[in-house]
């Protein structure tokens, strides 16, 4: 217990905890639109690991390189745990980074709760992904610190982890070295659990291998047999988990579309995934207000659905909704205009050739809608606008078997 306390105190991440939390929180709060739903909130919180894992790698590399200085290395030999105690350096900073991540996740959850997210919270696996990525970063930092043994270790480990995050996806597993940050569960997108699990295993194995390599690199003289066993075992595990993750990413998309299983009734009925209910309710109100403002010149469709492309055979409009573009809790004018001018999932939208006529009609109506919503008094719809809207509502719908 005393050793754990010492390790926690000696980790550099402890001194930089306010900086880590501040940066991660800034990154989280500068992004908009995620605070209406648990899944997306946790996903955005997990996405801050893009920042935390390179910093963790850098700090652990810094600590490990310092521990290799002659005075400290000699001192380590005299401690009860000897050199293996150096791994405690890694654990201390890793735990502080995890604490930073958990604090950010807590803020995200509070924001989602205040944003009206529907109980219960989901997508906890995103946090597990982020923690596994931090562990991988810690392993990379430990290995680089053990190899370089000078002050360049920290920045080098930071850069290595950042480059791995940017280009690691091209190594055969598209989502490798990434966690969260890309899921729009409000839009009906969820992370595939099998892909997430395989990524977690992959990142843990990367961390283990790097840890074993770092430990072996720090050994003086003949490397003991158990260190060789550790390196080769973790290398085999990494290959295995890499193969599984590669296969999973081939079998499944990282994201899967969730069904539109909830409808919010009202003057305008809006359907979408259950988790999106608070946003759907707001969308219904905003669309109804827009239709009332534009008048009854057009025979407005009053049924819209998010994620329509999953079931194009159903009649009714296609809801366009970008939570990031919402201002003061209301849909953007562009989203309202796009929704009102897509009153039917026309087959043309799903055809190989671009639907030129449809798009021209949509463009005419959209221009009128945007002018009507922006101006103080909406203009009446001309016959040209009415016929364009009629072509949008009267188009053939895609068949269910297509």
């Amino acid at each position: 217990m005393t050793a754990a306390r010492v390790w926690m105190r000696s980790g550099s991440a402890r001194r930089l905890l306010p900086f880590l939390v501040g940066m991660a929180l800034a990154l989280l709060l500068l992004r908009k639109g995620w605070n209406h739903e648990w899944g997306w909130a946790l996903d955005q919180a997990a996405g801050t690991s893009s920042l935390l894992s390179p910093v963790t790698a850098g700090l652990i590399a810094h600590d490990r390189a310092r521990a290799a200085e002659p005075s400290l290395a000699s001192l380590a030999q005299t401690t009860p745990r000897g050199r293996p105690g150096l791994i405690g350096v890694l654990l201390g900073s890793l735990v502080w980074s995890m604490i930073a991540l958990v604090l950010v996740a807590a803020v995200a959850l509070v924001a989602a709760w205040r944003g009206g997210a529907v109980w219960p919270p989901t997508n906890w696996i995103a946090l597990a992904e982020a923690i596994a990525l931090l562990f991988a970063g810690a392993g990379v930092g430990f290995a680089i610190g053990a190899w370089t043994r000078n002050r360049a270790a920290g920045p080098l480990a930071f850069a290595t982890m950042f480059v791995l995050q940017m280009f690691g996806g091209s190594l055969g597993v598209p989502e490798a070295f990434r966690a969260g940050g890309s899921v729009g569960t409000l839009l009906g997108l969820e992370r595939t659990v099998s892909v997430s699990s395989s990524l977690i295993a992959l990142h843990l194995c990367v961390g283990l291998l790097m840890l074993a390599c770092g430990d072996a690199a720090g050994a003086r003289g003949i490397t003991p047999l158990w260190r060789h066993v550790g390196v080769w075992t973790s290398a085999a595990l990494l290959l295995l988990s890499g193969a599984v993750a590669h296969r999973q990413s081939q079998l499944h998309d990282p994201l899967r579309a969730t069904p539109a299983d909830t409808c919010v009734p009202g003057p305008v009925t809006v359907c979408g995934p259950r988790a999106a209910r608070p946003l759907l309710a707001q969308a219904g109100k905003d669309l109804a207000a827009a239709q009332a403002r534009l008048g009854k010149d057009l025979d407005w469709v009053t049924d819209y659905e998010l994620n329509r492309s999953n079931r194009p055979e159903r009649a009714g409009g296609v809801l366009t909704l970008n939570p990031e573009l919402m201002r003061d809790g209301h849909l953007s004018v562009d989203d309202i205009a796009a929704t009102l001018t897509t009153p039917r999932p026309c087959a043309g939208y799903f055809a190989a050739a671009p639907p030129v006529d449809l798009m021209a009609a949509q463009s005419r109506v959209m221009e009128w809608v945007q002018q009507g919503l922006a101006g103080s008094t909406p203009t009446h719809a001309t016959s040209d606008i009415k016929s364009a809207y009629a072509s949008l509502t009267g188009c053939p719908v895609v068949k269910s078997d297509s």
């Binding site: 550099s12 001194r15 930089l16 900086f19 880590l20 940066m23 991660a24 800034a26 990154l27 500068l30 992004r31 908009k32 996405g47 893009s50 920042l51 390179p54 910093v55 850098g58 700090l59 810094h62 310092r66 002050r151 920290g154 920045p155 930071f158 850069a159 950042f162 995050q165 940017m166 996806g169 990434r178 969260g180 940050g181 890309s182 990031e324 573009l325």
Partner: protein, 186 residues
């Protein structure tokens, strides 16, 4: 003089700055996609965080406990700070001129460099050897935040005119020259 340059690792710094300056110029028109970011980012914007981290190298004191007793420490620190600022700005200046030439917001990029430099110098006085985390961490945070609709970081730094950023840079540089890096081993 040569000993001072070697002790402060100027050759390494100059090499890094030259490489990063060339990288900035070479990637001036390139855009890259980054995880956790919605829109592609100009590749040149990745250079300033690394450049500022490199510029901190000659500002560290090799023997922090000995430094107060060294006669020329203060002068060396002033020269190192001014030199680092000049060569850092000089390395990015051609890219800024190019960005200005094509009608893009070069002042935002210059302001981001000034912000990274200023915060890093303050960090050097507070956390000493770990100060490199600040330009790299803050730089990555700014890049990831910048890649959202509306480019919030560019917008935020552009609210202050460039002369004000220059003043902040000079003030923080002066502050660092006065205080020096934290006098403890990390």
């Amino acid at each position: 003089m040569r000993r001072v340059l070697w002790a402060r690792q100027w050759p390494l710094t100059l090499l890094l700055v030259a490489v990063l300056g060339l990288t900035s110029w070479g990637t001036r028109a390139l855009e890259v996609r980054v995880p956790f970011v919605d829109v592609p980012l100009p590749a040149r914007e990745f250079v300033p965080p690394a450049l500022v981290a490199a510029l901190l190298v000659p500002l560290y004191t090799r023997f922090p406990e000995l430094a107060p007793s060294l006669l020329r420490e203060a002068q060396v620190r002033v020269a190192a700070t001014c030199g680092a600022l000049v060569i850092g700005s000089g390395a990015l200046a051609p890219t800024w001129l190019h960005v200005r030439g094509v009608g893009q917001n070069w002042t935002a990029e210059a302001a981001m460099f000034a912000l990274l430099w200023s915060v890093s110098l303050l960090a050097l006085t507070v956390v000493g050897e770990l100060a490199w985390v600040v330009p790299l961490g803050l730089g990555v945070m700014m890049l990831l935040a910048e890649g959202t609709p509306g480019r919030p970081v560019s917008r935020a730094v552009s609210t202050m005119p460039l002369w004000a950023w220059a003043a902040v840079t000079l003030l923080t540089s002066g502050w660092f020259m006065y205080l020096g890096p934290r006098r403890t081993q990390n």
